[in-house]
């Protein structure tokens, strides 16, 4: 399907405009604009990110040791990712060539707790209403409260899975949101014995429920394979970190790229060299940049990140239940990469299962409770930290002056990597489901379903949880609003 022609229509002023603002049940604030011709054919579709945050600038001139705490305010859903990516970058600045075993394991525990809670939040709270009830189901029930009424056990497990992940974060970072556990060069705390006991008591159940969540997604795929394999599907390359031996590793690794056919095109790119392979393009209609692989350029070099990329990019997942699920997932692709937008949910639940298994294994490690926390060495003036955040590859890059103040900051967040992919997905959906039809709330929700699959964090700050109204405006050629429909 050729969707690139839908980025910018000809004769834009003669087309009618439909705006979805805000996109609901995602984190942050974005809007979608559709331009339609007289026959109702979609001629242009764009996802705009309309928030401007400015972190990269106002972090300049601040002392580097303050950065991991300050930048996590980017996000209330996955602050741990920013906290850890910043610390990983600043480990280089303080000369910590390697962390102590205690610090490394505590950070990993924190991170996998973050993956677990964020994936649970996204699947159960934000996306399951669409998947369980249907994209055009009654809008008043298409939310987590509706799920709790119709599928109480699913909702209960979702809520408690997220709670467990939040407890892992509290035990390692000090708070469920915006903690301060990691510092440049290591950590500032051990795991408390009470927390270890409490988490160990529940972890087996979390693994069991995560396995059930994978089964639930597979059941949904089996029930409507045409929809799940075709909805918003388009080909692209993928990128993620993988461990040196090819294993999935969400905390640390090297960059690997595959083309749309699944062939590895770049491998073992050290995190410090990310800028030699990734460029960023700016477009006038969005505050979010468009990253691309430099070798291929902006038009051909864009790629997908996140669970769908990671599960297919690694050679294996180093935990048994998740690895078995990965194999089944890969088999579903019949030798090719799976590009189906809705397969993100399947891959995401496999990762949630992996996170639960990693947490179980880590909790038995005595290093968490005892041992040195900090490493130091010769200070440097620059560092890059890359982590696989719940939504995909997250890059933090800092330069620090002789006076210890940050002089340069570049952040490429997960959702930014997926910018072109999300735009392509909504164009595919608009072309397939909306073109030529009278627009209804349910049809427009198809667009949001495609965006939601990527679990975008549009501001890395807030999320709407379906409470925000969906506004559709029909705008005439002269820019005047001809009609307006409000939901919610």
């Amino acid at each position: 399907m050729n969707t690139s022609s839908l980025e910018t229509a000809e004769n834009r002023e003669s087309l009618r405009k439909v705006v979805i603002d805000p996109v609901s049940r995602v984190e942050g604030h974005g809007k979608v604009t559709l331009l339609l011709d007289e026959e109702g054919e979609v001629r242009e579709a764009r996802l705009h990110i309309v928030e401007f945050r400015g972190f990269e600038v106002f972090i300049q001139g601040r002392p580097y040791w303050e950065v991991p705490v300050m930048v996590q305010r980017l996000c209330g859903i996955c602050p741990v990712s920013h906290h850890l990516a910043a610390c990983k970058a600043l480990d280089h600045v303080v000369g910590a060539q390697s962390l102590t075993p205690t610090a490394e394991k505590m950070r990993r525990l924190m991170h996998y707790g973050q993956i677990l809670q964020s994936h649970a939040l996204h699947f159960f709270h934000l996306s399951s209403p669409d998947l369980l009830f249907g994209f055009e189901s009654e809008v008043g029930k298409r939310n987590i409260v509706g799920v709790a009424a119709a599928h109480p056990e699913v909702a209960r497990q979702g809520v408690l899975l997220r709670k467990f992940g939040q407890e892992v974060i509290r035990a390692t970072a000090g708070k469920r949101i915006h903690g301060t556990g990691a510092v440049p060069g290591g950590m500032n705390r051990h795991l408390a014995p009470d927390d270890q006991r409490m988490l160990k008591a529940d972890v087996a159940k979390m693994i069991e429920w995560s396995r059930a969540a994978v089964e639930l997604v597979k059941r949904l795929h089996r029930a409507d394979p045409v929809l799940y394999d075709a909805f918003g599907t388009f080909s692209s390359g993928i990128m993620s970190l993988v461990r040196a031996d090819g294993a999935m590793d969400l905390y640390h690794g090297q960059l690997r790229f595959r083309d749309a056919n699944g062939a590895i095109t770049l491998d073992a790119v050290p995190d410090q060299d990310y800028h030699s392979v990734i460029g960023e393009q700016v477009k006038p209609w969005s505050y979010m940049k468009f990253p691309y692989l430099r070798d291929l350029g902006p038009d051909q070099g864009w790629y997908k990140v996140g669970p769908l990329a990671r599960v297919q990019n690694c050679d294996f997942i180093p935990s048994p239940f998740a690895e078995a699920e990965r194999r089944e997932f890969i088999a579903h692709g019949q030798g090719g990469l799976i590009h189906a937008t809705l397969a993100y949910h399947w891959a995401r639940m496999i990762e949630m299962l992996h996170a639960a298994e990693v947490i179980r294994d880590l909790l038995d490690d005595p290093d968490l409770m005892d041992g040195p926390l900090l490493s130091t060495g010769t200070h440097a003036r620059e560092g890059v930290g890359i982590i696989e955040a719940p939504r995909g590859t997250l890059i933090h890059h800092y330069q620090v002056g002789e006076d210890d103040l940050v002089s340069m900051c570049n952040l490429i967040v997960s959702t930014t990597h997926n910018n072109q992919a999300m735009n392509t997905a909504i164009r595919a959906v608009a072309q397939r489901y909306l073109s030529g039809h009278e627009l209804t709330e349910g049809l427009l929700n198809h667009i949001e379903v495609a965006i939601r699959a990527y679990d975008p964090c549009l501001s890395c700050a807030t999320h709407a949880l379906g409470q925000m109204p969906l506004v559709m405006e029909l705008v005439g050629p002269g820019g005047e609003t001809l009609s307006r429909v409000t939901r919610g």
Binding site: P63, E66, V69
Partner: protein, 234 residues
């Protein structure tokens, strides 16, 4: 001559030469303060220790206790005035507690909790106050200065260096460094100076420490400043 005054209806004994604040604290009654420090003479600038004596506002850190005084301190009216003073201090500077490394050890923050300040109330000034990171061991973040002059006094009276001073008046008042360049790195300031560890807020900070002590395990995280302050001086 020793004597006795009434503080919020409670009798407080005092010794000759004690201020109201000293006598109250010695008797186990807390009066909030920011610029007062037991190692220095009264300064009377923050006004947080105001009390009412015979219906008149006075700085309890500066006024000597007198026999028979009737003093109001822990009343809704006076605590409301103290809260307003704190709110003015918060909006006059740039106090971003969520990312401030002094959080939990900061007396301004602790007083805001103590006096139940739940909002800034006034419009923020957002003054432009660049940091001074020129010293190899100490960072100066002027954004958080509350003009208590404890660093000025410590550097002048204990360290004998007179590194710091307040300049200008009123809303233009600000802390400066006594060097031709205005930079701390061009003075003989040392991280071992008394002035280096006396700042009640997050202006004078040792470099490269940051969040080494977790939030939640800091001085005022577990106990309110009213208790910590009384224990420290006991």
């Amino acid at each position: 001559m020793n004597g006795r005054f009434m503080l919020d209806g409670q009798p407080v004994m005092f010794e000759e030469g004690q201020t109201i604040l000293q006598a109250a604290k010695a008797a186990g009654h807390y009066i909030p303060s920011l610029c007062w420090h037991p190692d220095f003479p009264p300064h009377g600038s923050c006004k947080l220790c105001i009390v009412k004596v015979g219906g008149r506002h006075v700085s309890s850190c500066a006024l000597q206790a007198k026999d028979g005084m009737e003093i109001e301190s822990n009343t809704p009216e006076i605590n409301g005035e103290r809260r307003a003073l704190l709110q003015m201090l918060f909006v006059e500077g740039n106090h971003f507690c969520p990312s401030c490394e002094k959080s939990g050890n900061c007396e301004l923050q602790a007083q805001a909790y103590e006096l139940e300040m739940t909002s800034a109330r006034f419009n923020y000034f957002f003054p432009v106050r660049p940091v001074d990171a020129s010293h190899p061991d100490i960072l100066l973040d002027f954004n958080r200065c509350i003009f208590c002059e404890l660093c000025v006094r410590a550097s002048r009276d204990i360290d004998g260096k007179s590194i710091f001073a307040l300049t200008n008046r009123g809303i233009h008042k600000h802390l400066v460094v006594n060097a031709e360049s205005g930079r701390l790195g061009d003075t003989d300031f040392s991280a071992l100076d008394r002035a280096a560890s006396i700042c009640p807020v997050g202006v004078i900070l040792p470099k490269r420490v940051g969040f080494a002590v977790p939030i939640g395990e800091r001085i005022y995280d577990e106990k309110p400043i009213s208790l910590v302050s009384m224990e420290k001086e006991r």
